[in-house]
């Protein structure tokens, strides 16, 4: 951790006093610069501490999901894990994406098809994630996972999870992110451009959804 006292002897703060006879008079300008430098240093320290704490928290999240996945896998085989995710309301398409296989492959697993231990762990991890999300008082984890993080941007916590950003999913669930745009930035740095469109979906006069140009 940087030592605040060291700041006193930096080039920025050195020689901040004027001498009047034998009495050293502090220069108002130099004193201001010193305070500015101190505040800046403090800010840097706090930023570094926050960054370290976030990294540590993320490591713990991953470790917790490892633990929960192991627990699920030790108790349940693949058909049972599929049934659990199905009961939560996961779509077969999302389950297939989580396991990294096709939808027909997942459908076969339900009736006893063959699968690798790795697939079983991936399903167990998703089931464990749901339990953890519930811990943050989200009653319907599957519904929450499919809800866009920001209005008008079709990126969901499920997209984060499928992109391997499970720690960010938990950050959002635990409401540790004050600016959701930062999450989108971590998911895709070009999200503003990528998800911008001049069109919108609306309910037409016949009650069906339709597409039209956005009104300016």
């Amino acid at each position: 951790m940087p030592d605040l006292d060291l700041l006193e002897n930096t080039s920025e703060t050195r020689g901040t006093a004027a001498t009047l006879g034998s009495v050293v008079m502090p220069s108002p300008v130099r004193t201001g610069e010193t305070l500015l430098a101190r505040a800046a240093g403090l800010r840097d320290i706090k930023r570094q501490e926050a960054s370290d704490a976030t990294a540590r928290h993320h490591e713990e999240i991953v470790a917790e999901l490892d633990r929960r996945a192991m627990l699920k896998v030790s108790k349940h085989d693949v058909p049972e894990l599929l049934a659990e995710l199905g009961r939560r309301g996961f779509s077969w398409r999302d389950i297939a994406a989580i396991a990294g296989v096709s939808v027909p492959a997942v459908r076969k697993w339900r009736t006893g098809g063959t699968y690798s231990p790795e697939r079983r762990t991936q399903l167990g991890r998703a089931a464990g994630l749901c339990d953890l999300i519930e811990h943050y008082l989200i009653p319907d984890p599957a519904g929450w996972l499919e809800t866009p993080i920001v209005k008008d941007v079709p990126v969901t916590p499920m997209d984060l999870y499928l992109a391997g950003l499970e720690e960010l999913v938990v950050d959002v669930a635990s409401r540790r992110v004050s600016d959701p745009h930062r999450i989108l930035g971590a998911f895709d740095s070009e999200w503003r451009e990528k998800y911008r469109t001049d069109y919108e979906v609306y309910e037409a006069s016949d009650g069906e959804l339709s597409i039209r140009a956005k009104r300016r």
Partner: protein, 232 residues
């Protein structure tokens, strides 16, 4: 800017199922590819053909029975396909590329969006592929671009049709379960339609709730529970 023709990263992203993996329980949907289908007005005899009728427009007035006619486009082999998906999808807007249509490494095909006709549904051949919703939205995007030269993000098409795609998945589950206990398919389809469209106490109809992304898991749970009680 996102209102550009979509380019998939891989051919696998396009297909829900191919060949023997195609489920007979799945309702016909836009983007389904059929074998040996003659398209009136299109020369060359029976061929592969892809459904271009919009996903929302494939049923009759009752919303259940398949329409008597659908629009299909001729699908042809494309041995001279551009080397990369980017080149193919970005610079050939008049076709719908179908790389690896019969499975990985089995050759490339393309849907000729200029060779479209009205086919009686009873004349359709064997279904050999179903597109993922992502693939269907790419097809929709290219049809709109072909007929109007307008480019709209495929994500807008996804938002517009997501409820229909979801309903197709749920019908498939319902039909598969009902067939196991010997319920007639037409009866099961009607029952499903009624269940999804029935009035509910204190909440909108399930079909309407499918329009909202965060509500879809709830609807799936309701359908799953109903399947469990009707077809134990």
């Amino acid at each position: 800017m996102d209102d550009e023709l979509e380019i998939p990263d891989s051919s696998d992203q396009l297909y829900l199922s191919r060949g023997a993996d195609v489920s007979g329980h799945r309702p016909f949907l836009q983007g389904d590819v059929f074998e040996a289908t003659a398209i009136p007005g299109v020369d060359g005899g029976p061929s592969l053909a892809i459904v271009t009728t919009h996903a929302c427009d494939m049923r009759g007035d009752d919303g259940v029975e398949l329409a008597e006619y659908l629009h299909l486009a001729r699908v042809e082999e494309r041995p001279d396909a551009p080397a990369t998906l980017k080149e193919w999808f970005k610079y050939r807007p008049k076709e719908m590329p179908l790389p690896d249509l019969r499975g990985a490494g089995s050759g490339h095909f393309t849907a000729r969006l200029d060779l479209v006709g009205r086919v009686k549904t009873s004349d359709l051949g064997q279904r050999i592929a179903c597109l993922m919703p992502y693939g269907i939205t790419i097809l929709q995007q290219r049809i709109v671009n072909r007929t109007s030269r307008v480019e709209i993000s495929n994500r807008v098409f996804e938002e517009k049709s997501a409820a229909v795609f979801e309903e197709a998945d749920l019908v498939e589950e319902w039909i598969e379960s009902s067939q196991r206990v010997g319920v007639d398919r037409a009866v099961a389809e009607k029952q499903f339609d009624e269940f999804l469209g029935e009035r509910r106490v204190g909440e909108p109809k399930l079909r309407l709730q499918l329009r909202e992304a965060g509500k879809r898991p709830y609807v799936r749970r309701q359908v799953e529970a109903e399947i469990g009680s009707r077809f134990p």
